[in-house]
């Protein structure tokens, strides 16, 4: 539908191994570790949430205290990989890239709104506009989930906010987070080269030029291997 994956593009992982010369660095080891740790924590948090919340699963699994403990800790630890990632210059540089919009990002959004999926109509830097908005949204959502979760965990922390209100926001936002994450994973599923980039750190330059046309430009010309910052 709104796929940005290059289906016409011969990107086979078998013919282009990750260590093949010519592939360009997209994510440093630190960034990949941050992403992997956050992903696993998020998965753990969502799976335990399902076992606490969905009746049939709750009946199947039981062990409420154990499941709740895993849920609480995976939730509060969720921001930790990103905080540790701040020690990495490459991660900090990418946070800046994610944060700031450029003119072509608005063009990307307009194309997305009109459901135009061709890469030419959707120029992007290292991160496209969708990824930028996703990053900001999920960061905010995780913080709200953590705050309302802590209110449920430590009752009476803020007597002004009723536990029922905290639970209501936590439950509603949980569904939104689940839907958005399904979208995130669908996008990754549709684009093997993007997944390869996150797994090995390196991507095919042709893919980069096609889907992130402004990235190499803004980093000072193609083929230049950047290690970050």
């Amino acid at each position: 539908m709104t796929s940005t994956a290059g289906s016409r593009e011969p990107t086979g992982a078998a013919t282009r191994g990750p260590e093949r010369p010519g592939r360009i660095l997209r994510f440093s080891r630190a960034e990949r570790l941050v992403h992997r740790a956050t992903g696993w924590l998020m998965l753990l948090c969502l799976l335990t949430a399902a076992c606490l919340y969905l009746g049939p699963l709750a009946q199947l699994v039981g062990r409420r205290h154990l499941v709740a403990t895993v849920h609480e800790w995976s939730g509060v630890l969720l921001p930790l990989p990103s905080l540790l990632g701040l020690l990495s210059p490459a991660f900090r540089a990418d946070l800046r890239r994610l944060n700031r919009f450029a003119g072509y990002d608005r063009q990307w959004l307009r194309a997305a709104r009109r459901r135009v999926a061709t890469p030419d109509a959707r120029p992007a830097g290292k991160f496209n506009a969708g990824q930028k908005i996703y990053a900001g949204w999920i960061a905010g959502a995780v913080l709200v989930m953590m705050f309302t979760g802590l209110l449920m965990w430590f009752t009476g922390l803020l007597p002004l906010i009723s536990r029922t209100s905290a639970i209501f926001v936590h439950d509603c936002l949980a569904w939104a987070v689940a839907l958005v994450l399904i979208g995130h994973m669908r996008k990754a599923y549709e684009d093997p080269e993007a997944r390869l980039g996150m797994r090995t750190g390196r991507v095919d330059p042709a893919w980069a030029v096609r889907h992130h046309s402004e990235w190499l430009e803004e980093d000072g010309g193609p083929r230049r291997r950047r290690t970050g910052g």
Partner: protein, 241 residues
């Protein structure tokens, strides 16, 4: 922008604004939750009437029961093998079968069921034997000051002080919503402590033991209040407390 095609994007910090917007939405959600929730419950009530799939049951819903169990699986018991033992600091310990309990005078209590996890079931009728009746029949000794409850899931425990246990709205419940309590809801026999949060109403009740002091129950050892009185807005419809 046209002057500097190269270099990093330096436009508006959209991601940061999105994040802050999300935080603001969360705060607004918390502030408006009582009103939003009221409207949402109405929408759900009308939606669930037209819903034959039961999918609306998955939506965030503060009203309606949810299934909780602290163990992996709970054995099923019915009239043939159910037994409720009353012992501890009493003169006449004994065991009741389901038929014994049904033969005793039944009391009906209709209140809101309120869980600490935010869900609520308004005006839910429970029917059963007053706990005080069973305690009187067993003859509590003078040193008996509290009651400890055990369950046939093999793990859950609860407690009440003797004063709480003797309230008229504390039942050994056999019926819920005018039907025998199902296994999922803690049947065939569960405790019902109307003036407290629902975790005090132990499911799958199998033992009542009079003790000389309060022994904290399962969730209470994990941080819940031993006295689980309904508080604030949760206490609506509870004129007796």
């Amino acid at each position: 922008m046209a002057d500097q095609p190269k270099g990093r994007p330096d436009g508006a910090p959209v991601a940061r604004r999105t994040m802050l917007g999300m935080l603001a939405a969360g705060a607004a959600g918390l502030a408006g939750a009582p009103y939003l929730q009221h409207g949402w419950e109405k929408v759900l009530a009308s939606a669930s009437q037209a819903d034959s799939t039961g999918l609306t049951g998955l939506l965030p819903n503060p009203s309606g029961f949810r299934y909780y169990s602290i163990v992996g699986s709970v054995p099923r018991k019915d009239a043939t093998d159910y037994e409720l033992r009353i012992d501890g600091l009493v003169d006449r310990p004994r065991a009741y079968t389901l038929a014994d309990l049904r033969a005793l005078p039944q009391t009906r209590v209709v209140r809101d069921v309120q869980c600490t996890d935010g869900w609520r079931v308004p005006d839910t009728p429970f029917e059963g034997v007053r706990l005080s009746h069973l305690l009187d029949a067993a003859g509590v000794r003078p040193e008996g000051r509290a009651v400890r409850f055990t369950c046939f899931d093999g793990a859950y425990t609860e407690s009440l002080t003797m004063e709480q246990a003797c309230r008229s709205d504390v039942l050994v419940a056999l019926n819920m919503q005018d039907r025998p309590i199902t296994h999922e809801h803690g049947g065939p026999v569960r405790l019902y402590v109307a003036p407290m949060y629902f975790y005090k109403s132990a499911k799958w009740l199998s033992g009542i033991s009079v003790t000389d002091r309060v022994v904290p129950g399962y969730w209470e050892e994990r941080g819940y209040d031993v006295d689980g009185w309904l508080e604030g807005a949760d206490r609506r419809g509870d004129a007796g407390a």
